[in-house]
């Protein structure tokens, strides 16, 4: 019994690490730029396809391809901010929602045209391997993904705490007008925020590739969990999103184990509703970052 619970917690934690990379991106964009990026999942998908093609064409390991997928998506983020999002900022919320939603549909359908609906997988030597400890097992690919995800989250946290640019991002997110008065250039800060968020999505894509198949609609699978994690962990709060993602992974896994395999989302949403009822602004309360 203890073993079953422990295994469920391990499974939940590992997948929670992937949820975290996606949700941190969403929450960062929301916190700094104040828009909801419905297309975040599609950038995960792009990261997966980049990784897939690097692996099949050049034999590059998915983990190594992080050094390609993250910069490519960082630049994509800066461009998306500069050419698209910047134009709708300051208007009411609707054009912003439509913009990212349309972007999501556009990317999915372009991917369908370019890559077809086929599933693509990358097999690495560690794809189907696992460490067996006692009666427990830890899949290698997921462990790598989890460790890298935590590392990247940690680096982001240090960046936001200690660098000038990071502080400027936090300032812009707390009060855009005052930040501007203090000499912070919001456009530059927003561009970096979008870049970082999309680079994280790209990282999630690369890390997923050794154990999850890529297909044009794959982003939709992860974006739902990311949205829940963002709300659960208090909108705009990076650490909150991280903790919430891990909690959700564990809750989902335990739910499947002890309630039923079709209860995964029920447990996650029950967790969300309970949290919101007790703490309406999420786990992190009113605190920011």
């Amino acid at each position: 019994m203890v073993e079953i619970v422990a295994q469920a917690v391990i499974n939940g934690l590992l997948i929670g690490g992937i949820y975290a990379l996606v949700s941190i991106g969403v929450t960062l964009i929301f916190g700094v730029v104040k828009i909801v990026n419905f297309a975040q999942g599609e950038f995960v998908m792009i990261g997966m396809y980049i990784t897939f093609f690097l692996a099949t064409q050049f034999g590059i390991d998915p983990i190594v391809s992080l050094i390609v997928s993250m910069p490519v998506l960082f630049v994509t983020g800066v461009l998306v901010q500069h050419f698209l999002i910047r134009r709708v900022l300051g208007l009411n919320d609707l054009p912003q929602i439509f913009l990212t939603f349309a972007l999501s549909l556009l990317i999915i359908n372009v991917a369908l045209m370019l890559f077809t609906a086929n599933y693509r997988t990358v097999h690495t030597w560690y794809s189907d391997e696992a460490f067996h400890v006692g009666g427990l097992y830890i899949p290698v690919a997921k462990l790598i993904a989890f460790v890298v995800a935590m590392l990247l989250s940690g680096i982001l946290w240090v960046f936001l705490r200690t660098t000038d640019l990071g502080k400027a991002m936090r300032a812009a997110s707390q009060n855009r007008d005052v930040a501007q008065l203090m000499g912070i250039n919001p456009n530059r800060v927003f561009a970096v925020a979008l870049g970082i968020a999309l680079a994280l999505a790209g990282a999630a894509g690369s890390l997923l590739m050794p154990f999850y198949p890529a297909y044009p609609m794959v982003g939709q699978v992860f974006i739902l969990m990311a949205f829940v994690a963002v709300v659960l962990g208090t909108l705009g709060n990076v650490i909150g999103a991280l903790v919430a993602s891990l909690l959700m992974g564990i809750a989902e896994s335990l739910g499947i184990q002890f309630i039923g395999a079709d209860s995964g989302l029920i447990v996650v949403f029950a967790l969300l509703l309970t949290t919101l009822a007790v703490r309406p602004s999420g786990l992190a309360g009113g605190g920011r970052r």
């Binding site: 079953i4 609906a117 599933y119 997988t121 189907d128 696992a130 198949p213 039923g260 989302l265």
Partner: protein, 409 residues
């Protein structure tokens, strides 16, 4: 519009030839009165509708179906077309149903009202075929399909299903489980959709009769991010066989997770996404020894191997279940047209209902015989058990259809 224009010269050509070769009075009469019922129609191509999802979530399989449908029509035409109709060629009109039930309804309607169809085949997914067959029924156009839902045989008179029904698949799976293990303890996991629920219920109902014990029976939400918790549960159930009623993506994760856990179970992946080349491409060596069931397989007869070779030349992949089945269906339609001697859908329906073949491409079905009962079901229909062996899908069950021995995994 195009059709109207092209019809005129061909009709003239034919009449001229008729005049030259046999100056029969009847022909003169029809030409003179301009009445065109029999002879005049003759060399007009016979329109066959094909409804497949070549875009959207089911596109992967739908596109293969479209290739096979074209191949089948070419084969019929190259062999001389429909002889009783003066060598009329089949003209395939494909329509994309976009993996969507609403689109399927409108596309079927559009296809039937916009073209003079003799028959339709489609749509691969049962959910789509149920709708298309409803529309065809109302328009009184026969539809022939490889979809396995038993619902297709209820209250329909224009729907023909030459292959095994969903209820028969379950029985074959249970019997195969007994062949690979002495005392099979089966875990059934299925996605909580109409497809998953109906198929798994068939397994549950027939298990006691087949002497198979089901130790776990668990629905899951389709499209999960992680199969580990589910496989964790299978492990705890002590099962030695696993039946997974899943679409391709979930099945890929399930198979890979079973390996990671190091769980030793005989997996039966059913049909659909399991029996297409893409499954092996995604799972690789882990697929070796996995069992499934299909309504058609590319190695089960000499004829099917011949068609498979041609399809492989065009696509580089083996002819998968559904696509192979629809080649046979096209030949069944050709057989019916031949006997009907007419392109009239009503007469084609009558001819289909009396179809009885046991040789040729039209008889490419497990068991090698096709004859429809009053409910449109092939009275000889049965599934074929398959197993992935050396990167190929081999027919292994029952003995009559087996081309390779069933390996114990």
């Amino acid at each position: 519009m195009n059709k109207g224009q092209s019809r005129i010269p061909s009709k003239k050509l034919l009449r001229r030839r008729d005049f030259l070769t046999k100056a029969a009075g009847g022909v003169v009469a029809t030409a003179a009165f301009g009445a065109v019922p029999l002879r005049g129609w003759a060399a007009d191509p016979v329109n066959i509708g094909g409804l497949y999802p070549v875009t959207g979530s089911m596109a992967q399989i739908g596109q293969g179906c479209a290739v096979a449908a074209k191949l089948a029509v070419e084969m019929v035409n190259d062999a001389g077309g429909i002889k009783s109709l003066g060598g009329a060629k089949l003209n395939l009109i494909l329509s994309d149903v976009q993996s969507d039930t609403t689109v399927t309804r409108t596309e079927t309607d559009r296809l039937i009202s916009g073209n003079k169809l003799s028959a339709i085949h489609g749509c691969f997914a049962s959910a789509l075929t149920l709708i298309a067959s409803e529309v065809a029924e109302r328009a009184k156009v026969p539809i022939i399909t490889g979809s396995s839902s038993d619902m297709l045989n209820k209250g329909r008179t224009y729907t023909f299903t030459p292959f095994a029904r969903a209820s028969q698949f379950a029985k074959a799976q249970l019997q195969m489980a007994k062949l690979v293990g002495d005392k099979p303890k089966v875990a059934v996991i299925f996605e909580n959709t109409a497809f998953g629920t109906s198929t798994s219920n068939g397994l549950k109902e027939q298990a006691p009769g087949e002497g198979v014990e089901i130790v776990m029976f668990e629905p899951y939400s389709a499209g999960f991010t992680d199969a580990s918790p589910l496989i964790n549960k299978v492990k705890a159930s002590g099962a030695n066989a696993l039946f997974s009623v899943s679409y391709l993506n979930d099945l890929i994760l399930i198979v890979r997770t079973v390996k990671q856990v190091g769980l030793n179970v005989a997996i039966n992946g059913g049909s659909g996404g399991f029996v297409i080349p893409d499954f092996y491409k995604n799972v690789g060596k882990l697929a070796e020894g996995l069992q499934g069931v299909a309504h058609w397989n590319h190695d089960m007869s000499d004829d099917s191997q011949k068609v498979n070779a041609e399809y492989k030349k065009r696509t580089g992949e083996f002819l998968f279940e559904y696509a192979g089945g629809l080649v046979a269906q096209t030949f069944m339609l050709a057989d019916a047209l031949e006997r009907a001697g007419s392109a009239d859908p009503q007469k084609v329906r009558e001819a289909l209902s009396t179809l009885d073949v046991s040789t040729g491409y039209a008889a490419m079905a497990p068991g090698g015989k096709v004859k429809f009962g009053p409910d449109g079901k092939n009275i000889y229909g049965r599934p074929v058990g398959v197993q992935w062996q050396n990167g190929d899908l081999a027919s292994v069950f029952p003995k009559e259809d087996a081309r390779a021995p069933l390996m114990k995994s």
